[in-house]
């Protein structure tokens, strides 16, 4: 029989042997992934909602998930979580598009100041248009919103300058942009705040060239402030909730969007030696799982899918063996993080309680005036 290139190909080159053959949970499409993390590596995350899973998993696995905007420790841990501190490495909310990431960097370093930069929803409800859901209930005044944004962007700078590995999940190509200055909003104005106006807002569906150009620009900016940063790109497997395109079905629009992002990621890996691609998209969407990693809404990813992705991430990036009881462990990890001990608060509470017990409890004091 004649020799040909496929004959000596490794197992992972064969669909039958590496996708159709193994049990779904054993499929491992990670090849040539060269990023290594250990417990000291500062890993920062940003991106679409799937990136939240990566952040949560890293945090709960004891790795150095780098949170630059932690929220002040006077806030109990549960309150910080409820106010989106620690959801990502800074309180920017979901960053769906490459353009949004680039503009975040530019805003953080004073290179871009959008004109439409405050949404007032009610007398005492103000939103930051570039992270409208970051503060539940909104800010009480424009001043507070601007002060918080100033602090937030300082944290973003600190994150970019100090991270070792930046995991960015590309989510969408569809976005809404200000006609006046090109500022891109994470969500269409009018959906989570603000007012949609045709004369101010325009729909944009990015192309491969757009994404590659914006991501390249971001990567060059980042390299200037942090030359050692390594980048891991992923593509979100979460389909579009809706498309703004009238000429396409949402399924076709999703395929376009994810295809563009996947191609762009490939081109960026080829162009930049410090950029790697991790195939979480393929792990979740691959036909080997027969859709089992999706929830009933066929959009959200179930915990066993996240566990498959993160198990392989840990195996290849951290050298950890995938754990057999992934699913069970994943469930445990989906529980809220136990509140961290606020040691100052515990001591203060004890001191106050002692004072409260003692206040007015001298023999001559007034309790005797109580007339039950």
């Amino acid at each position: 029989m004649a020799e040909h290139p496929y004959k000596s190909a490794p197992e992972y080159n064969s669909w039958r042997r590496s996708v159709a053959g193994p049990a779904a949970g054993e499929v491992d499409p990670v090849v040539n992934f060269n990023v290594r993390i250990n417990h000291e590596t500062r890993v920062a995350t940003a991106g679409s909602c799937f990136a939240q899973h990566i952040a949560r998993y890293l945090k709960n696995s004891g790795y150095n998930y780098f949170v630059a905007e932690t929220g002040h420790p006077i806030l109990p841990e549960s309150v910080r979580q409820a106010n989106n501190y620690g959801l990502f490495s800074a309180r920017y909310g979901n960053i769906y598009t490459a353009r949004q990431l680039l503009q975040l960097f530019q805003r953080a370093y004073g290179q871009f100041q959008p004109l439409e930069d405050c949404w007032q929803e009610a007398e005492d409800v103000f939103l930051d248009p570039f992270r409208p859901t970051a503060q539940p209930g909104g800010f009480v005044s424009e001043l507070e919103m601007r002060l918080d944004r100033e602090q937030h962007l300082a944290c973003v700078r600190r994150m970019f300058e100090n991270l070792d590995v930046f995991v960015f999940t590309l989510g969408l190509t569809e976005c809404w942009v200000s006609r006046s200055d090109g500022a891109v909003f994470p969500i269409c104005p009018g959906v989570e705040g603000g007012q949609f106006a045709k004369h101010r807002h325009v729909f944009c569906n990015e192309t491969v060239d757009d994404v590659v150009s914006e991501m390249s620009s971001f990567l060059l900016h980042l390299a200037r402030v942090n030359p050692r940063a390594q980048i891991i790109l992923t593509v979100s497997p979460v389909p579009l909730a809706a498309t703004a395109r009238r000429d396409q079905h949402v399924l076709a629009a999703t395929t376009y969007s994810k295809s563009v992002l996947r191609v762009a990621a490939e081109m960026l890996v080829a162009r930049f030696p410090h950029v790697s691609y991790f195939p979480s998209y393929e792990i979740i969407t691959g036909s080997f799982s027969r859709g089992a990693y999706y929830a009933d809404d066929l959009r959200n990813v179930l915990e066993n899918g996240v566990a498959h992705v993160m198990g392989l991430f840990m195996k290849h990036a951290a050298g950890e063996a995938p754990e057999p009881a992934r699913e069970v462990k994943a469930e445990a990890k989906s529980q809220p993080v136990a509140p961290a001990a606020n040691d100052y608060q515990e001591l203060a509470a004890r001191l106050v309680e002692v004072e409260c017990d003692e206040a007015g409890l001298d023999p001559e004091d007034s309790l005797a005036t109580g007339k039950p």
Binding site: N83, D343, A348, A359
Partner: protein
């Protein structure tokens, strides 16, 4: 005849002391609730007893609750981290010296999710035919030296190997803001329950908005009988108003 019942925790002691000093124990009576640490302290009421007590009142009586206002002390007594600031309300000014900004609604959430006495208060309101009033806690003390000295008198100060001095006392301006937001939120919460909130007596403040020195009780957080006398005066005025209104309505 209208009776006024004060039910409360440690802050009610100043009121009781003021009444004892005046020798006027007929119109206003004070009933202290047992604390978490001393639930069955002699002379204190259980929450169940307090509910029975208010059930015995008529609509012409009045119930005053001195039961909230401690969480700002938990949060703001000792330093928790870098200097922080938040806006108490829309009109508030930002503190330029603060390192960390905390959004108002995040701060408010911390208080709203730690209103430990809320169930008892709601039960008391539900059981009472008499109108119920929620009394403000006294404003905080301004002097960090005074607070530190009082806290250091307590013998058991170590926590995780750190003492009160290791943590340090929180900045007075932050302590005041925490009390102000707790008061604001308590008043809002009281309104949501259909009861009135009684602000701290105007005379008790110094020019910076803290508790005036002459109203200090000899500890870090409480006010004294002179402060209690000011609250007693507020209670008397409210009761008088109730009587006038009752008379006007025949």
């Amino acid at each position: 005849m209208t009776r006024a019942i004060v039910i409360g925790q440690s802050h009610s002691a100043a009121i009781a002391e003021a009444l004892a000093a005046e020798g006027d124990l007929d119109l206003i009576t004070v009933h202290r609730l047992g604390s978490k640490n001393r639930p069955f302290e002699r002379g204190t009421l259980s929450a169940e007893d307090a509910i029975k007590l208010v059930q015995s009142l008529s609509s012409e009586d009045a119930v005053f609750l001195a039961m909230l206002g401690t969480f700002s002390n938990y949060l703001g007594m000792l330093r928790s981290g870098p200097d922080f600031d938040f806006l108490v309300d829309q009109a508030d000014r930002a503190d330029a010296r603060a390192v960390d900004r905390i959004p108002h609604r995040a701060m408010a959430m911390a208080f709203d999710s730690n209103r430990g006495q809320a169930p008892t208060i709601e039960k008391i309101i539900g059981a009472s035919k008499a109108p119920v009033f929620l009394l403000s806690s006294p404003p905080p003390k301004e002097s960090n030296d005074y607070i530190l000295h009082r806290l250091l008198r307590q013998s058991d100060q170590m926590k995780y190997g750190k003492s009160v001095q290791d943590f340090g006392i929180e900045r007075p301006e932050s302590r005041l803001k925490l009390w102000r937001i707790e008061t604001l939120l308590s008043a809002k919460w009281a309104r949501s329950l259909g009861i009135s909130f009684v602000q701290a007596p105007v005379k008790c403040f110094n020019s910076n908005g803290f508790l005036a020195r002459k109203y200090y009780y000899d500890d870090a957080t409480h006010a004294n009988a002179s402060y209690g006398a000011l609250v007693v005066q507020q209670i008397r005025e409210i009761v008088q108003d109730m009587k006038k209104q009752a008379a006007a309505h025949g």
